[in-house]
Amino acid sequence: MKARIKFRKYGVMKFIGHLDVMRYFQKVMRRAEIPIAFTGGCSPHMIMSFAQPLGVGLTSDGEYLDIELSSPVSREKAIKQMNQVMVEGMEVTDFTEISDDKKSSGMTITAAASYKVFLLASGENSDNRIHIPVKWRESCPHFLEEKEIFMWKKTKKSEKEVDIRPLIYDMRADEESIFLFLAAGSGQNLKPDLVMRAFLSYMGIDFHEKMPPFHYHRIDLYAEEKNTKAFISLSDTGV
C-alpha cells in the first residue's frame, strides 16, 4: 500500500534545504511509528519519494511525499501521529492512499505548481510585505501576450537560452501578491524567480542583477489529468 503525505513548510523551516527535509521526514517516520516499508538488500532504506524539491527561502502549503507502507494505517491516525512529533514550521495536512503503480508517483505525475509572489519592503523580513504596484498588476496580461520569452536558464551542467513562455500557464496579480501557475516536475520545470526576472525586464525595470526583494510561496502542486488535460491538485490524485 502506498500513501501520499501533504505538508506545509513555513516560518523558520524555510531555511532547511530539500535534502535535510528528506532526512527530517525519515526521522519523523520512526518517531511517529508509521509502518513504512524498506528496500531489501544489505543496507535497507525507507521507500519514500518527494514530488518536487522546494528551494531554500521558499515557504509552501503544498508539499508532497509518497511512502510505501508495510501495513495499513488510517488517515486520521497517521496525520495525528506525525503532527505530534513535528517541529514548528512543518505540518502534515493530508494523508491519502494512492495507486501502487509506479507511474502514479508524485515525482512522475507532477506537471505544474502554483505560487504567490510577495513584494517585500526589504529582503530582511519576508513578513514585511508591500502592495504590488498598479503598473505591475496591469502589465501581467500584456506580458502573457508575448509569443516568446527567451531567458538564460541554468541547468546542472550548462546555461542556455530557452523560451519560457510555454511554461507559464497563468500569471495575474492583485494588491497582495502575484499569482503564478508554472510548469513543474521532472520533465519541464520553471522556477518562479526566473519568471519575475523576465517580467521585470519586460517592464523595463533595471535591477542590475539584484532583484527587488520577493518572497515566494508555493500554493500547491498539480498533475495533468489524461483525458481532460486539466490540472488537478496532487492531493486529489488518491485512490
Partner: protein, 621 residues
C-alpha cells in the same frame, strides 16, 4: 511565530543557515519570565561538531529538568557569519531563545581540545563579554569552563571566572543553587565566586597566585582568598547507572558529525596506557548497568528517529556485558533498518562475528591501534598488545573476508629510536604477509594496509607528563624515517602511509602543558586573526609564530625540555585520584620497558581507589 536573531538577508546568504535557527526536534523552549537562571552552554566550534558532543547533551538535559533553569546552546559562528556579525555588530545569541548571550547568567564552555582556544575568545568577543575575566562587570555572565582541557586550565586562567573540574553530573546543582542564594542576598559577582570556590571541584583562578623561579619554572602556586582550597578535587559520578542521561537528545536538521544515538556504556578504562590522558583522568572504570543501557537505547531511538546507534567508551571490549548488549541491539533493531555502529573493538572471534552481522565486509575496513611499531615501544607505552595478537587478529579478519586494514601509530614517543620508527613499516608489512599466506583462490584480491602516524603529545596527569617534545623539523624527519622504511618493504604496493601535520602538534603541546603565562599567546594569536585552528583550511602557523614573537613567550621552554620529577607542574593543584607517586613509578617503568598489568588483572595502586567506586571496590577475580 518564532523570531530569529539574524534576518532573512543574512541567513539566505551564508552557508547552512540551519546552524543558527534552533527549533530542532527535542530542543527545549521555556518562558524566560518563569525561570530564575539562564544558562548558555557552548561548544566553541562549528555547529556540526558541537552538536555531536555527548557531554553537552547530558548537561542540557540535566539542567532543563530543573524548572528554574533554562539551558540553551551556542556554537561558534562559521567564518562567513563571523564576518557579518562583526560588520553589523550583531551580538552572539543562543539558539533556543535567540537572545544575546550577554544577557545570560552563565556561559558554560566545554573545552575538548587545545586548538579551540582562539574560538573561545571568539565566543566571548562576539558576545560582547570582556575577554579578560578581571574586566567583567556585575552584568556579565559568569563564564565557566569544563571538559578534559580543564585538567590543566592554566593557559586559560585569565579568560574564565571559574572552572568545573570533572564530570558535570555532580555539583552543578549546588553551583546553581548558590547563584540563586547569592542573588537573593544581593551579593556581588565576587561574593558568588567565593561561594563557588567553596564547592568541591570548583576552581576560581583569580583566587590564586603563582610565583616563578629564575629559570621560569613554578616556585609556588597558592590561594590568596580564604574561600579558595589548596587542592581541587576532580568530580566523578560513582553510580553511573543511576544518574542523568538524556532520553530525548536534540536532533539536528543538518547532517552533523555524530548523526546518531550515542550510548555511553562505561566511563574510565582499565588499560593504563602511559600516553593516554583519558585513561588516567577518568579512573576508576565504572560500567553502566546493561538493563539501563537497553532502556536508553530504545527510548533514544524512539524519541530521535535516528537510524543509527553507536556505543561509546574507552576500550569498549572491556565492558563486561558487551555481548549481551550488542546481541540485544542486533535482535531488537537490525530488522527495523537501524544501523549499529561499533566503536573500535579488540579484534577477536566475537567482534568479527558481530561486525559481519552489522557491516558490509567487502566495503568496511578493520582498525587496529598498535600505537607503536616495535614490541619494545609498545611495552614502553604499556599498550599491552603483542605482535602475535595483532597478527592473529588480522589473520582471523582476513579469513573472514576482510582485506582492508587501518593501523594507527604514534611517533615521537619517549625513548623511541630510529629502529622503532622503522618497525612501523615492518609491522604493516607483516600484516600484509599474513594476508598473502591465504591461498590465492580463497582471498579477495589484493589487501590494502593503511598506516597513519600522529605525533605524540605529552599530557598532564599521565606518566609521560615529564617527557620532552621535539621541534617541527625533528617531527618531519621522524615521519621521513617511516616513509623510507615503507619503501623498502616487500609488499609496499599493498601498503599506504599517511602522517599528521607537525605544526599543530607543537602548539597543542604548548597549551596542553602550558602555565598561566602561556595564555597571553592565545589572545595575541586571536588578535592577529587566528580562529578555527583545528580546521586545516584556516590554521595559520605563521600568525602563531608571530604571536609567540610578539609576546616573548619561548616555545622551547614548554616543549623541548624534559621536566624534572621535583618540578612543580601547573596542574599539580588538581587531585584526580591517581597519585603523582604512581605516575612517577610508571615513568620509571616506562624507561625500563616494563609493563604494568591492567586493573582487572592486578591493582597497581594508582590512587583512584580513594574515590571508592567502580572497579576499585568490585570483587576482583
Amino acid at each position: 511565530m518564532r523570531k530569529l536573531a539574524l534576518n532573512d538577508e543574512i541567513l539566505l546568504n551564508i552557508e547552512k543557515p540551519a546552524r543558527y535557527i534552533g527549533n530542532e526536534v527535542n530542543s527545549v523552549m521555556k518562558d524566560p519570565e518563569k525561570v530564575d537562571i539562564r544558562f548558555a552552554m557552548c561548544f566553541p566550534d562549528v555547529y556540526e561538531i558541537g552538536m555531536s558532543h555527548l557531554g553537552i547533551q547530558i548537561l542540557y538535559d540535566m539542567f532543563n529538568r530543573r524548572q528554574d533553569v533554562w539551558c540553551e546552546r551556542v556554537y561558534s559562528p562559521w567564518i562567513d557569519l563571523d564576518k557579518v556579525m562583526r560588520e553589523k555588530q550583531i551580538p552572539l545569541f543562543a539558539l533556543e531563545s535567540q537572545d544575546p548571550i550577554k544577557e545570560f547568567d552563565f556561559l558554560g564552555i566545554t573545552i575538548q581540545y587545545e586548538m579551540c582556544y582562539t574560538n573561545i575568545l571568539q565566543i566571548l568577543d562576539l558576545s560582547g563579554i570582556p575577554i579578560m575575566a578581571a574586566d567583567r562587570s556585575e552584568n556579565d555572565p559568569i563564564v565557566i569552563g569544563g571538559g578534559p582541557c580543564t585538567y590543566n586550565p592554566e593557559p586559560l586562567a585569565d579568560y574564565f571566572d571559574l572552572f568545573y573540574i570533572g564530570e558535570g553530573e555532580t555539583v552543578y546543582g549546588e553551583l546553581l543553587d548558590a547563584f540563586k542564594l547569592c542573588r537573593k542576598q544581593g551579593g556581588s559577582r565576587r561574593d558568588y565566586l567565593e561561594m563557588a570556590a567553596g564547592i568541591e571541584g570548583i576552581y576560581v583562578p583569580s583566587f590564586y597566585e603563582v610565583s616563578y623561579h629564575e629559570d621560569g619554572t613554578i616556585e609556588d602556586f597558592y590561594p590568596v582568598n580564604p574561600h579558595a582550597a589548596e587542592t581541587i578535587k576532580k568530580q566523578l559520578v560513582l553510580d553511573v547507572s543511576n544518574t542523568y542521561y538524556p532520553e530525548a537528545p536534540v536532533v539536528p536538521f543538518i547532517k552533523v558529525t555524530q548523526d546518531r544515538v550515542v550510548l555511553e556504556i562505561q566511563r574510565g578504562c582499565i588499560r593504563g596506557c602511559r600516553f593516554c590522558q583519558a585513561g588516567m583522568l577518568y579512573r576508576p572504570l565504572r560500567e553502566r548497568n546493561v538493563k539501563m543501557l537497553k532502556h536508553y537505547a530504545s527510548q533514544m531511538l524512539k524519541n530521535t528517529g535516528h537510524e543509527e546507534i553507536s556505543l561509546s567508551s574507552l576500550s569498549s571490549s572491556d565492558y563486561s556485558s558487551l555481548k549481551e548488549l550488542v546481541t540485544f541491539l542486533i535482535e531488537e533493531f537490525k530488522g527495523k533498518g537501524i544501523n549499529i555502529s561499533l566503536p573500535s573493538l579488540r579484534i577477536d572471534a566475537f567482534s568479527l562475528d558481530v561486525m559481519e552481522k552489522v557491516q558490509d565486509v567487502r566495503k568496511s575496513s578493520l582498525t587496529f591501534a598498535p600505537e607503536a611499531g616495535s614490541q619494545r615501544m609498545r611495552d614502553v607505552i604499556n599498550k599491552g598488545l603483542t605482535e602475535d595478537e595483532i597478527l592473529a587478529g588480522a589473520g582471523e579478519a582476513f579469513e573472514g573476508g576482510w582485506n582492508k586494514v587501518k593501523l594507527y601509530f604514534m611517533l615521537g614517543l619517549p625513548y623511541e629510536t630510529k629502529e622503532d620508527r622503522r618497525a612501523v613499516a615492518e609491522l604493516a608489512d607483516k600484516v600484509a604477509r599474513r594476508y598473502y599466506e591465504i591461498p590465492k583462490e580463497q582471498r579477495n584480491g589484493k589487501c590494502q594496509i593503511t598506516s597513519s602516524t600522529s605525533f605524540f603529545i605529552p599530557k598532564p596527569f599521565t606518566p609521560f607528563q615529564w617527557a620532552r617534545m621535539y621541534t617541527n623539523e625533528e617531527y618531519i624527519s621522524y615521519a621521513a624515517d617511516v616513509k623510507h622504511a615503507f619503501q623498502e618493504q616487500l609488499n609496499k604496493k599493498s601498503l599506504k602511509y599517511h602522517w599528521h601535520d607537525a605544526e599543530v602538534t607543537v602548539l597543542e603541546g604548548i597549551f596542553a602543558r602550558g602555565d598561566r603565562r602561556s595564555g597571553a599567546v592565545i589572545l595575541e594569536a586571536y588578535r592577529l586573526g587566528c580562529i578555527y585552528d583545528s580546521w586545516s583550511d584556516y590554521f595559520d602557523y605563521e600568525k602563531w609564530l608571530q604571536a609567540f614573537k610578539n609576546t616573548g613567550i619561548d616555545m622551547a621552554f614548554y616543549n623541548l625540555r624534559e621536566r624534572s620529577l621535583d618540578e612543580r607542574l601547573p596542574w599539580d593543584f588538581i587531585d584526580i585520584g591517581v597519585s603523582k607517586e604512581f605516575l612517577k613509578r610508571e615513568w620509571e617503568r616506562a624507561k625500563k620497558a616494563e609493563i604494568t598489568p591492567n586493573c582487572k588483572r592486578k591493582c597497581a595502586g594508582c590512587g583512584a581507589g580513594k574515590w571508592k567506586g567502580g572497579i576499585c571496590i568490585e570483587s576482583k577475580n
